[in-house]
């Protein structure tokens, strides 16, 4: 009898193809939309230790960017748009060279965490971690015509056309990219 109960429990925690415990598909279970936080909380989000205002303060100048995050791998000027792109091993950071302001951060490695409302999120985290940190009703956005990945968006009402998107691999339900973006 005891053996039967153990087997039943094991069945409930079936393994998927990646070896992870099966979880509900957030595309089917989570409400749709952006997760609005206060603008002061949004402005306090850090990207590998620094807020957007601190990053903008560099003006996209090489030495100032290096002082924030250490040595970058390469820096390139785009010859078709006014953009300076810094490549790190773990992330890309782009500035508009006419305004000196940040346009994009793309994080692809767990060495560059973001901290939202005091909670650290990084590439490789499971969706369930976000539910634990931000509540079971955390919203997602899924637009398969645009991307096969679903995203968790953090934003504040009344901001100036920017946002933070956390992209999830739809098979493993792990964070596979974190992106800050600003619309020109």
């Amino acid at each position: 009898m005891v053996a039967n109960i153990v087997l039943l429990t094991a069945d409930l925690y079936a393994q998927d193809k990646t070896g992870n415990s099966s979880i509900d598909n957030p595309v089917q279970t989570q409400p749709n939309g952006r997760n609005l936080i206060s603008c002061s909380a949004f402005d306090a989000i850090t990207y590998n230790g620094h807020t957007i205002s601190q990053i903008n303060a560099t003006g996209g100048i090489q030495s100032s960017v290096q002082s924030l995050w250490g040595s970058y791998t390469t820096v390139n000027e785009n010859d078709t748009s006014p953009e300076r792109l810094f490549m790190f091993d773990e992330a890309k950071v782009a500035f508009n060279t006419e305004t000196g302001r940040l346009t994009t951060i793309e994080i692809s490695n767990y060495h560059w965490p973001v901290v939202i409302l005091g909670k650290e999120i990084k590439v490789g985290d499971q969706f369930n971690k976000l539910k634990q940190e931000f509540g079971s009703n955390i919203k997602i956005i899924y637009k398969p015509a645009i991307s096969d990945r679903y995203v968790v968006s953090f934003n504040c009402s009344g901001n100036d056309y920017d946002g933070l998107l956390i992209y999830f691999n739809p098979a493993s339900h792990e964070v596979d990219e974190i992106k800050y973006y600003k619309i020109p």
Binding site: D79, T80, P82, T97, E98, T103, T104, S153, Y181
Partner: protein, 91 residues
């Protein structure tokens, strides 16, 4: 003339001669367009068009081009709601 959000390398090389009917680029979700659509800032796939007067010998936007100009002064063909050119506006 610059077009934003195109598929990378879908445009002719710098210095190419362009003829009527040539494909000058393929629309994509490059730059921040995918993020902007996912986040609801825009619902439409679109391209940005920027026109600048060339003031230098090279192709560097920071050195060889002046302030942006009004693209409508250069794109004179108008289209109706069905996407067809309006007679008499063809460039």
């Amino acid at each position: 003339m610059q077009f934003g959000h195109l598929k990378e390398n879908s445009w002719p090389p710098n210095g190419s001669t362009i003829n009527v009917g040539d494909v000058i680029g393929i629309q994509a979700l490059s730059g921040n367009l995918e993020a902007a659509i996912l986040d609801g800032y825009t619902n439409d796939v679109h391209s940005h068009i920027i026109v600048r007067k060339r003031i230098g010998p090279g192709w560097d936007t920071g050195l060889d081009y002046g302030e942006p100009l009004n693209p409508e002064d250069f794109l004179t063909t108008k289209f109706n709601s069905n996407g067809n050119p309006i007679s008499g506006t063809d460039c």
